[in-house]
């Protein structure tokens, strides 16, 4: 899995950027504010359709862009299973026409109009596609100092970790997750209607329970299997850095899954409602939703389901969110990311691109060495830092090293 070439237009601070990446590690160093993270962000956007740093795509557009409507464009020429694929994402200012200054481009299918958000348009090999179609063409694992939140932050952060990892691996997961989320929005709206008007028959909740369970059970089953594979990978890290203490992640469901056995073996893609394990999870979830109805009505929101589940990350059995030091949390987060890369390689048969944004300065020498070895071992890694000196001579020898200055990469 490789990103061979990255081209940007009006993306963050880059009016234009073009670079062909060599295989193996690429070091990009430069001053704070030079735009190193923007490059990592662009690569991650092409992999996941989302920014790792900003929840609003508005932030990604260079607003001094002379075009109206303003837009940002990222184009990645990737290689997956030795086949080239070109991924393009355009972020377009809301309002106005969206044809851009590109007469050859056919407009994408009409999407509902949401004024405050930026429109995302995706093209694969020049053909307009739904944004979700880009997932899986460029698989990436991203790590930055903020990723300590994966362990230290709220449960939402860990659910997103699982969702993004699985979305890159399994289209069926994306579809089930979206339909589940939609069903929950509808169920919550129904709950509030029932709360406001007690005369309405409660049986109108039944179809939403059924929809939430049908798709939510697939989400849970996929996550259980993925977590079991993550733990397999975490166990293989034992004794090596970063696992000074053995790290484990346990899925903490909001519905009672004690009767569910997660079978060993690789992660299987494309699970659906008919799978026996999904059926077992679905009946547990259906029971929990029925039992939770009274509380849900009072709260006006759905209190059980995969959107309420969490992942507890433990080192030597100790919950790192509650009891880990900042350093231990960072180590545990790094281990989770390494496990994610293992999972991706196992499922797709290709090592993902590692995007390591300014992580070296935060790590002790042993872990730095570990990360460098990892970056050399994978097909491609893009590694940033504020100075070349944070990287070992051995790593610099194996890497293509560039300095980012005035928006250009200069061979260093």
């Amino acid at each position: 899995m490789r990103l061979r070439h990255l081209a940007l237009a009006h993306f963050r601070r880059f009016a234009a950027f073009d670079h062909a990446f060599a295989p193996g590690p690429t070091i990009i160093w430069g001053d704070n504010g030079a735009g190193k993270s923007n490059l990592v962000e662009a690569a991650y956007l092409l992999a996941t359709s989302r920014s790792p740093y900003s929840s609003s795509e508005r932030d990604l557009i260079a607003w001094d862009c002379p075009h109206r409507p303003a837009f940002a464009r990222t184009i990645g020429d990737c290689e997956s299973h030795s086949r080239p694929v070109r991924i393009e994402i355009r972020l377009v200012e809301p309002g106005g026409n969206h044809s851009l200054a590109d007469p050859g481009a056919a407009p994408g299918p009409d999407e509902p109009y949401h004024p405050p958000s930026v429109r995302r348009r995706a093209l694969i090999d020049g053909q307009p596609k739904a944004i979700g179609e880009i997932l899986g063409h460029l698989n990436a694992v991203h790590f930055s100092p903020e990723e300590v939140e994966l362990v230290a932050g709220p449960g939402e952060r860990r659910r997103r970790f699982l969702d993004i990892a699985l979305s890159q691996l399994d289209r069926a997961y994306v579809r089930s997750l979206r339909r589940f989320q939609r069903a929950i929005v509808q169920r919550n709206a129904m709950l509030r209607r029932l709360r406001d008007d007690p005369a309405l028959p409660r049986t109108q909740l039944d179809p939403w329970d059924a929809e939430a369970v049908a798709h939510g059970a697939v989400v849970i089953a996929c996550r259980l299997r993925a977590v079991s594979r993550l733990n397999e990978a975490l166990a293989s890290l034992d004794g090596t850095a970063p696992g000074a203490a053995p790290i484990r992640a346990d899925y903490v469901p909001s519905v009672d899954l004690r009767a569910i056995n997660v079978p060993d073996g690789p992660y299987i893609r494309g699970w659906d409602e008919g799978d026996p394990q999904v059926v077992a999870v679905a009946s547990a979830m259906a029971r929990a939703m029925t039992a939770s109805r009274g509380r849900d009505l009072g709260a006006g929101t759905t209190l059980v389901g995969p959107h309420r589940d969490d992942l507890v990350v433990r080192a030597a059995g100790i919950d790192q969110r509650l009891y880990g030091s900042r350093g231990q949390q960072r180590t545990a987060a790094l281990a989770m990311k390494v496990a994610e890369a293992h999972l991706m390689a196992e499922v797709t048969g290709e090592k993902p691109v590692l995007l390591l944004d300014d992580v070296m300065s935060e790590l002790d020498p042993g872990r730095r060495q570990f990360v460098e070895a990892l970056a050399i071992d994978t097909d491609q890694a893009i590694v940033t830092g504020t100075e070349a000196a944070v990287f070992s001579d051995r790593f610099r020898g194996a890497a293509s090293t560039y300095r980012l200055q005035h928006g250009n990469l200069v061979r260093a």
């Binding site: 289209r171 069926a172 579809r175 339909r179 939609r182 069903a183 929005v185 509808q186 169920r187 709206a189 129904m190 209607r193 309405l200 028959p201 049986t203 109108q204 039944d206 179809p207 939403w208 059924a210 929809e211 494309g270 659906d272 008919g274």
Partner: protein
Amino acid sequence: MPALLPDPISRAIESFGRLPGIGPKTAQRLAFHLLRQPREVAEALARAVVDLKDQILECSTCFNLGATDPCGICTDGARDRTAICVVEAPLDVIALEKLGSYRGLYHVLHGSFSPMDGILEDDLRIADLVRRVRAGGINEVIVATNATVEGEATANLVRTRLQSFDGVRATRLAQGLPIGSDIEYADDYTLTRALQNRTRL
């Protein structure tokens, strides 16, 4: 703001601007276009719009739109009166009628179950459907709602409301491969469904 445009023009722009998919720019273009057209064009448009409201009726049996009540399909003696096809919108009836192969009756719900849009069971024509089935003579209700989350929930609701009627078969449209397309290009969900709903060769 001082009135830059004579009142009739700004009223026309305002009216066009209220239509779905028409922005302020397009509304202006439409208004000025009509201004330059012969009077007959404007009159034909005005009449068509008013007739739409005056002459289109909702069938009190199937709730499809038509020029008469009951509608042409409901009064057509040649149709199979034992089957009802439940759809979300009148346009779905047209799509099915184009086939020519479905000879049963219809029931238009006028929407799908969507609490977030304020559409609850009573806003759909489900109670009327139950009444039609209770009146007897129906062997099959084919639920042809969309394959969206809302369409599935609507189908689920219709199924539960009809489950007490013995001898009435509730069915759902099959989901699977589009005819004439390559398996290679089918999206994963469609392909999964096609596999689940496979039929004996």
